[in-house]
């Protein structure tokens, strides 16, 4: 228990130092931070100027109007009233930033507590608050602001407070969803059990998790607040007593015939401010995503070198025996990561002979699936095949061009995935997804439909026409797996690669699917590569076994030899860890011992 609690905490918690580090590695985010510093500098300057000489920005020299950019003493020139443009742009920073800050404070002050309460306590409080939030979100904000200004006038305080209230639902939704997610985590339950007070749980755990996404949201809202505030000032609904960029835009617009570019300076200032907020927001988002994404291949490199390889991969120039339909030699697959290339398959070697069924076993993360994908030419775009050979029909696929390789693989090898539901396109009917590849190969619409229906019936589906009209969410997992197998064999492959085809299914359905695979192998005369971690399935279905560990095949043997005399130490460990039929898992055995006397007594 304590172990899982700790795991959850380390995974979910937003680590501020690592986020900041990845923020600093992102060049655009650095530009954003630099712009942010510039804006903050202008803000400080504006405050100082307002304190030292409050009238400097509003008094102009009427003998010196429209001075060009670069005039001595007036770096950006002067406006139509002879006032220094640079000075006014800087001074306007104050009103704009305070407006944005005010809106943010209101949005956070309303949104965060409401979100915490709604997410944590749920039920009617949640329903009520969420209803209010959706009502506010569906209101046209600008028009409502106008309604408020109609009554209360153009005070910046009122306008920005109202804007903050209208932004609060976004903050509320964010905090609420995060709280709900955190609540489902184990460690909050653990905290409740250990007697922490509600308020402390909320502040200590939930606020920590929500911090990162909140920074992202706040930056976006800040950019929006600057845009709205400046826009309102520009159309003349702002506070006329303060100098703002929007007010300056308005003056520049009014005086465009005299000086067409006066609007450019406040416009630039506003753009810089918005860019600063957005770039920091984007950088934060990327950093958070990088933090969420687990790195592929978490094993230590050193571990691989200690492995001793029993058969196959050891030889220098392994030859491909003529009876092998498919042979993989020294295959290495790697993914780019923050610290360079991370190899997930390291010199894997295996062979599939005609008509046989090869079980590729190993624990999760051992590279089984990546090897299968490499053979299927289905590796994701960022994967790199660093070395090795994949022989199919006496040709090394890796030496062919992309098109050639794809043609050969698709013609010969079909794929049955692990998770049936996520492998059907939710937006198309089953029938469409089954017939599309057939039609792609030139079958007529009618022939494709008839063939698909026939195959479905062959898979043990009673009413194929009905299933073909259904969408994936309307059928069961077992049914979906039959559909996927039908799709795979519809292309009449010589090799079928099935990646954990039964793992995601109910136990009763598992047997049916295994029976189906066995039957199809005979009927369609296919060779099968079965990726699995289940040695029971291997014993049931396979003629040969290859054991993978840490990206390598450590043992390959006929199935009987493997179960009788496993040669590699790891294979022996795997076999020992399998519960055989007489030996029930400890938890169940305990339960049995408690229950059975009573049961016996009842009988």
């Amino acid at each position: 228990m304590s172990e899982s609690v700790e795991l959850a905490t380390t995974n979910e918690e937003w680590d501020s130092s690592s986020t900041l580090r990845s923020l600093l590695r992102n060049p655009l985010a650095c530009v954003g931070l630099a712009l942010m510093l510039l804006v903050l500098g202008a803000l400080v300057a504006a405050i100082v100027i307002g304190w030292v000489s409050p009238h400097a920005a509003i008094t102009g020299d009427l003998r010196n109007t429209r001075a060009p950019v670069g005039t001595a003493g007036h770096l950006l020139g002067t406006d139509l009233a002879g006032r220094d443009v640079l000075l006014r742009v800087i001074v306007a920073t104050r009103a704009t930033m305070f407006s944005a800050l005010l809106a943010l404070v209101v949005a956070i002050g309303l949104g965060v507590p409401a979100g915490l309460v709604a997410g944590y306590y749920g039920r009617w409080i949640d329903l009520a608050l969420d209803w209010i939030a959706s009502l506010v979100m569906s209101l046209p904000a600008l028009v409502l602001l106008m309604a408020i200004i109609t009554s209360l006038g153009t005070s910046m305080w009122i306008t920005m407070t109202s804007l903050g209230a209208m932004m609060a639902p976004s903050v509320f939704r964010l905090v609420r969803s995060q709280v709900i997610a955190v609540r489902r985590e184990l460690y909050i339950d653990a905290a409740i059990v250990s007697g922490l007070h509600d308020a402390r749980i909320l502040t200590r755990h939930v606020l920590r998790v929500v911090r990162g996404p909140l920074i992202l949201m706040v930056s976006l809202l800040a950019a929006a607040a600057v845009m709205v505030q400046t826009g309102l000032d520009f159309i003349g609904l702002g506070d006329p007593s303060t100098i703002t960029w929007g007010g300056m835009l308005n003056e520049g617009f009014a005086g465009m015939s005299a000086d067409p570019y006066l609007f450019a300076w406040p416009g630039l200032a506003m753009s810089i401010t918005i860019a600063a907020f957005l770039l920091v927001a984007n950088g934060t988002r990327d950093a958070l995503q990088a933090h969420e994404r687990p790195e592929t291949g978490r094993r230590q490199r050193s571990e691989a070198h200690t492995l001793e390889v029993v058969s196959g991969a050891g030889g220098a120039e392994p030859s491909v025996p003529p009876e092998a339909l498919l042979a993989v030699r020294n295959l290495t697959v790697a993914y780019p990561s923050a610290t360079g290339l991370n190899d997930v398959v390291r010199g894997a070697t295996l062979e599939l002979t005609r008509g046989s069924t090869l079980g590729l076993v190993g624990e999760s993360g051992s590279g089984k699936t990546q090897t299968a994908f490499a053979v299927l030419d289905l590796l994701p775009p960022n994967a790199e095949v660093l070395s090795g050979e994949i022989w199919l029909d006496g040709v090394d696929l890796l030496r062919l061009g992309r098109k050639q390789r794809e043609r050969r693989v698709r013609e010969a090898i079909a794929y049955v995935p692990q998770e049936p539901m996520s492998n059907l396109d939710p937006a198309f009917t089953i029938g469409y997804q089954l017939t599309e590849p057939l039609r792609h190969r030139g079958a007529s619409r009618r022939a494709a439909r008839e063939r698909s229906a026939e195959l479905l019936r062959h898979m043990g589906i009673d009413s194929p026409e009905r299933v073909m009209k259904a969408y994936p969410h309307q059928i069961s997992g077992g049914m979906a797996q039959r559909v996927l197998i039908a799709g795979a064999v519809s292309l009449e492959p010589r090799i079928l690669i099935a990646d954990e085809p039964t793992t995601a299914l109910d136990v009763t359905v598992q047997c049916d699917i295994l029976d189906l695979l066995r039957r199809l192998q005979d009927e369609f005369d296919m060779s099968v590569l079965l990726v699995t971690h289940n040695l029971g399935v291997v014993a049931d279905l396979c003629s040969d076994v290859s054991v993978m560990r840490a990206g390598r095949v450590v043992e390959s043997a006929p199935v009987l030899d493997f179960f009788a005399r496993p040669r590699h130490e790891y294979s022996r460990k795997l076999l020992e860890s399998v519960p055989d039929e007489n030996q029930i898992r400890p938890a169940y055995r305990d339960a049995d011992e408690i229950d059975s006397p009573a049961e016996r007594g009842l009988r």
Binding site: S138, P140, V143, T150, M256, Y415, E419, A488
Partner: protein, 313 residues
């Protein structure tokens, strides 16, 4: 499906009434003083009070609201305090201008954002970078600032487009196109940025999904995977961001109209707000609220078509 639509339509109507009520009371939280706006700064307080009495705004707000909503239910939104014209005819006159801008901009936003997203996803790595930079620029420049820039360069400096005004579609098609070209460009960029980024992100998610891999294993080419399965599954997120950008464009058009001096809802709104012309403000609330709610309803119904799982059983 039909019952679902009717239920949504009903709740939309309830929402519209809620929005109108909230807005009406908002125009009254600090009291309302249209008399001053009509009579000007030189009028005496007695004159202003008399005017306010004549307009009926000194009555209790609840009874004013009851009158307003009773008339509104019969399609009568009252008369403007300022121009004395009926609000409905004011809106009828202004709506085509704003709708021309918003709908044209929405059309371009939809097309361009999809094109950019496809370019980013299907093209090479630099294509993706280009799209991201374009999107960033679009997000940084608010429509009214871009409008000012376009006005200063293309209209004032080079005289390529009319500086201001609106030509009705019925009067001259080419004049209409020329008069709305710059405002539409200004309004489109921001929406394109948001929608293109959204579409790009969800296309990438879809393309790395399990079912795309499985379909690829069955020999379907990249083109049909992207254009058929990719677009279809990414469409719902794209549509959501398009409906959000519709609201943003509507708000932006209020400001852009000022730049190009177009007689649309935006200019009407600014006049009405500064003169406390409540009937006009309320008319604007109703019309923009109705348009936004209608767009949301339409989006929801389209989502049902796009996502089979969301359809009622």
């Amino acid at each position: 499906m039909a019952t679902l639509f009717l239920r949504r339509l009903l709740s939309s109507a309830v929402l519209l009434i809620a929005v109108a009520s909230v807005a009406f009371f908002l125009t009254d939280i600090g009291g309302i003083d249209p008399g001053r706006g009509i009579l000007g700064a030189n009028a005496t307080q007695a004159q202003v009070t008399a005017m306010n009495h004549q307009l009926g705004v000194d009555r209790p707000v609840v009874s004013q609201f009851a009158d307003w909503i009773g008339a509104a239910a019969h399609g009568n939104l009252g008369d403007s305090f300022g121009s004395k014209r009926s609000v409905v005819s004011e809106l009828q006159e202004r709506l085509p201008v704003t709708l021309s801008l918003v709908l044209c901009s929405l059309l371009f936003t939809a097309l361009l954002s999809l094109a950019l997203a496809l370019f980013a996803v299907a093209g090479r790595r630099w294509a993706d970078k280009v799209v991201q930079v374009v999107a960033l620029i679009g997000q940084i420049l608010p429509a009214y600032l871009l409008a000012l820039g376009l006005l200063a360069f293309l209209a004032v400096k080079f005289g390529l487009f009319p500086v201001f005004g609106y030509v009705h579609l019925g009067d001259s098609v080419s004049g209409w196109v020329r008069s709305i070209a710059l405002p539409v460009v200004a309004l489109t960029l921001g929406g394109v940025a948001g929608c293109a980024l959204q579409a790009r992100g969800s296309l990438m998610d879809v393309l790395s999904s399990d079912y795309i891999r499985t379909l690829r294993s069955r020999g379907l080419g990249s083109r049909s995977l992207l254009l058929r399965h990719g677009l279809r599954n990414a469409a719902s997120a794209w549509l959501t961001s398009l409906s959000l950008s519709f609201v943003a464009v509507l708000g932006g058009s209020f400001m852009v109209e000022k730049v190009f001096a177009m007689p649309g809802l935006g200019t009407l709104a600014v006049e009405a707000t500064t003169t406390a012309d409540r009937p006009v403000i309320m008319g604007l609330v109703v019309i923009t609220g109705a348009v936004v709610i209608l767009v949301n309803l339409l989006t929801d119904m389209l989502q049902l078509w796009l996502i089979p799982k969301a359809r009622p059983a």
